[in-house]
């Protein structure tokens, strides 16, 4: 028996969420009294996973898999799970993870729970807590099949060191065929993405116009944060749609979310509920966002944000 984690990498390097998944997988394996196996594809720094508890790394190297194809990767995961007799398979909640997981579940005739936010509360029956109703509620659910597939909600468990002496084993699965071909990938270059960011700085209509986004970007760059915006702002064309967070936009599950000039409509809050700490800067003390926030400043963004940037610069200088 084993627990299998898929640790995704990009150009050979692991994503931070892969370390979170490995940390989580190690704990689940401990709960089940078994070992953790981590599957990697074209990763170059497999040894780094030992630090988070990977007892065995199953290393796949394949030219064909250099471009992500959900069907092919799901089939590789199935073969790995069968080879390692894995009873629990854990994947990420990023774009590729969510694409992949349902296919893995069908391949293994496994029940699937997405958006899992904590360690299983019981391993028999296997019960997990997951986010539902756009994080307005949680659902405890049993996975009733022999093999279980779960996707872990980002930043819900954290990265924990748990050094083990691991080993790497090469693995050469059969690659399935797929009629779906990737034509091109367009990356927004050089910027922190909302999905990967630990901190997100978001602006709303209170900023009055796209010409005022300089300070949002300055604040984001000091914090190493991604920039985002409210729905009206993307509808008005002030910012690209890819920055829209909320119910129908992107979900944010960052450690820190700073909202500037956003009133906090329920549809917006639905998209950012999963963020841990929320800071709101708004001129209107009655803005509904203050009820959902951890820290609030009532004030003019055009005065508060530049001051905040100054203070953060001082802070960074003192803590460098």
């Amino acid at each position: 028996m084993s627990v299998l984690v898929f640790a995704e990498s990009s150009e050979g390097k692991f994503k931070k969420s892969s370390f979170e998944l490995t940390s989580y997988g190690k704990k689940v394996a401990e709960q089940l009294g078994t070992n953790l196996v981590v599957l990697t594809i074209n990763a170059t720094e497999n040894e780094t996973l030992y630090k988070y508890g990977a007892e065995k790394v199953l290393q796949v190297t394949s030219e064909v898999l250099a471009t992500f194809n959900a069907k092919k990767v799901a089939n590789v995961l199935k073969q790995a799970a069968e080879k390692e007799n894995s009873k629990v398979v854990i994947v990420d909640s990023n774009a590729n993870g969510l694409y992949l997981a349902p296919l893995v579940a069908v391949n293994l005739s496994a029940g699937f729970a997405s958006n899992v936010m904590a360690l299983p509360s019981s391993t028999s029956p296997f019960t997990v807590k997951r986010k539902a109703f756009s994080s307005k509620a949680f659902n405890n659910c049993k996975i009733s099949t022999d093999i279980k597939v779960i996707s872990l909600s980002k930043n819900s468990y954290g990265v924990h060191e748990n050094e083990v002496s691991g080993s790497i084993e090469g693995f050469s699965p059969v690659i399935a065929t797929s009629n779906l071909s990737s034509e091109k990938i367009e990356q927004t270059t050089g910027k922190v993405t909302i999905a990967d960011a630990d901190i997100v700085v978001s602006g709303g209509r209170g900023l009055k116009g796209p010409e005022n986004w300089g300070m949002v970007e300055d604040l984001a760059s000091i914090l190493g944060a991604a920039t985002a915006c409210s729905k009206p702002v993307s509808d008005l064309g002030w910012r690209p749609h890819s920055e829209h967070v909320g119910q129908t936009g992107k979900p944010v599950a960052s450690n820190l979310y700073i909202a500037i000039g956003i009133s906090g409509a329920i549809q917006h809050l639905a998209g950012i509920n999963s963020s841990k700490i929320k800071v709101v800067i708004n001129t209107d003390a009655e803005a509904p966002f203050f009820k959902a926030a951890d820290y609030g400043i009532v004030g003019d963004a055009f005065e508060v944000v530049p001051k905040l940037i100054e203070k953060l610069k001082e802070f960074k200088a003192n803590n460098a």
Partner: protein
Amino acid sequence: MKILVCISHVPDTTSKVNFTENDTKFDSNGVQFVINPYDEFALTRAMWFKEKQGATVTVVNVGNASTEPTLRKALAIGADDAIRVNIEATDGFAVAKELAEVVKNGSYNLVLAGKESIDYNGGMVPGMLASLLDYNFVNACISLEIDGEKATISREIDGGKEVLSCNLPLIVAGQKGLVEEKDLRIPNMRGIMMARKKPLIVVESINSEAGTISVSFEKPTAKSACKMIDADNVGELVNLLHTEAKVI
């Protein structure tokens, strides 16, 4: 082109989320149910295929009789006919197996759905359905064009997008971008009248096996009140974020 659009029947975004029967069931008392917003993008895209490329559009829901008004709304928006699989939907895997039967029986070559429902946020039905049928599948789709048998699809990836292509049959799990919010349609009186006469067929379930069983619901613990910081003392915010919240 024969299109099937999967419709989830969900509480409106602004609904209060409460639970009954010892926190085991969603409290639908006084709650307005709507077409799942992600499915509505898919339905609207299907209407364009119908109007511009002569596709037929069937909508389907897996659920009990209470979901029929939502299917009627989809018919009022312009779908040709509707199917309801008569079983309460409790698990995505079971729903996908039911839908696989519907797709096989109706020989649909394009299945559109939302990437997730806004109530259970499972996000699994379209992918499972594709895997069960061995159809091509694209998740988190933000644009879809079909020319004859050839589909060109964009999907959202972390920090960008990927453009893919394949031949039909295809299953797409869509989101905003497939169409924009301004493109969504409100049924007009004529549509509502016509919807009453359109076929809504109830088919029996195959009693597919579930992969998960919901045990209970809980709500987040009430968060402590927002700590207000004076606009003249912004340094205090930096301090709190560092020492108290420990996020910088």
